[in-house]
Symmetry: C2
Subunit: 299 residues, 2 copies
């Protein structure tokens, strides 16, 4: 799916909702457990219930991986069931050296190889450029790079300030100064450097960023560095982020947001009415989003 097609869907459905398909066997409605593929059955019914309100679906791969090969089978079936006009995100947070990242890209982008082809994949930035580029080799596929995540641990490294100085004086002999590609002269946080440097790797038509809803005020700063890029925003809902703040600080003229909700929708009920409750919560969020899109003059 191209950027224009995604924007088109957002305007058509009056929504920028992404539903997180994170099926936990321990939390599935009990009446589904007798199904041959309870995981797929759960997802299928949720997709049916929420498709009118969602422009994207985001299975978190850990939930499927935890079940071994059968989990991957359920994931394949789920992906095949998602309507073609919905943007699909493999929330895998992958990343490795170049030739290995190519294989991760194959796993999630090449149907002939793995049986699956998502529109996009979340990628961890720690290993830098050559760990990310292989994903961008795939035409019309997106990389969603972790920037500022929603969890407490984001404070361990992401929100630390970098030093404009290139290297410590005693390290010159180790050749570090030469290994820097860009001369640094700014006071920026680690996550800001990720936002800034990664723009040399791909444009706003191929690259998105993960910014946690719990970090909504930081969106102002994010937008200074990346005004046009789409942002994937987890953490509205179970993690406590505010939709209003997210829109206030994060929306741009193309909307530029995909707000993810998983637990608040998929576990809205764990009874036989789980689909209905999921639909209601998805619709509630879509209506909130519609109001925001109108307020910002996008629809």
């Amino acid at each position: 799916m191209t950027r224009n097609q995604l924007i088109e869907q957002i305007k058509r459905k009056k929504s920028f909702l992404c539903v997180g398909l994170d099926p936990d066997l321990k939390k599935l409605p009990k009446h589904l457990l007798k199904e041959p593929d309870a995981i797929f059955e759960f997802n299928k019914r949720l997709i049916d219930a929420t498709a009118p309100y969602a422009v994207a679906y985001k299975p978190n791969i850990a939930f499927y991986e935890a079940l071994g090969p059968r989990g991957w089978n359920s994931l394949q079936r789920t992906l095949a069931y998602i309507p073609k006009d919905c943007f699909t995100i493999a929330d895998a947070k992958r990343g490795d050296i170049g030739n290995t990242s190519s294989l991760y890209a194959q796993a999630f982008f090449d149907k002939n190889s793995s049986g699956m082809s998502f529109d996009s994949i979340t990628v961890a930035p720690y290993m830098g450029r050559d760990s990310v580029m292989p994903f961008l080799e795939f035409k019309d596929k997106w990389v969603i790079l972790l920037a500022l995540t929603s969890n407490e641990g984001s404070a361990d490294f992401q929100t630390h300030l970098l030093n404009p100085q290139l290297s410590r004086n005693d390290d010159d002999e180790l050749g570090l100064a030469n290994s820097q590609i860009v001369v640094e002269n700014q006071n920026e946080y680690v996550f800001e450097r990720v936002l800034r440097v990664s723009q040399e790797w791909g444009g706003a038509d191929r690259l998105m960023y993960v910014v946690g809803a719990t970090k909504a005020p930081m969106l102002k700063q994010v937008r200074k560095i990346a005004p046009d890029h789409f942002l994937l925003i987890p953490g509205v809902g179970a993690q406590g982020g505010s939709m209003e703040e997210v829109c206030k600080y994060g929306m741009n003229k193309d909307c530029g947001l995909l707000v993810n909700a998983a637990r608040s929708i998929i576990y809205a009920s764990s009874g036989t009415d789980f689909e209905q409750k999921a639909a209601e919560e998805a619709q509630r969020m879509q209506q909130e989003m519609e109001a925001q899109l109108k307020a910002f003059g996008i629809i």
Copy 2:
């Protein structure tokens, strides 16, 4: 496997070789392709050929994932075939918010869940403490945290200097200063901070670090911060790192190293003599390691 058991194996086999089981269908010896499970057959024969010389095996999960569910089946079979006295590493470079990292841990540590149980898993540090802790909840399992990786992209973020200042002055209103758990007052690289801060999460009996062989001189600095921890060292072989430099800067009184070689061993030949050539290369490396272990008085 406990730390003492690992050290025991290193002394017994006079080796700290880790063989990377990275089977690429495009590179497999052609005569194997007719096998029902060519990937497992390749691995099985390599394990048979190299087990006398290796203390650890490290399948890089991307190679299996690229093939979808059948890749995971091959991985399961491979893991089951590795001798019980060898240390197993799921080179997955996983990491996500807490509840999701728990599921990744389940995928690689809980046989009842996924059908597989490795001794350890590589983890990406970007999302911080609460993304790593769930892996450490599993008794007798290890986390191998990325610190300074072997690839060029390590220069994008890992070798950047952090600023002792807590936050920019204009960010106080965003509450960032309060979200820092530890007051920083040192001039350290991002990867050094990863090494230092992570020691609060787990000790040298549960935590290891990835340091690329291509960064051997930096091992001196790594050892200042983490003198006792085992280090997983990829990049000797195909990536060009030097075994001698790695040992010179990285060995400690317990050896403290697992040096990984993949392509130089598993693709030493792509003919019908691939096992023999793999055995020869593994033995060559083991002999080099034996000499180093003796030189350092460990055996």
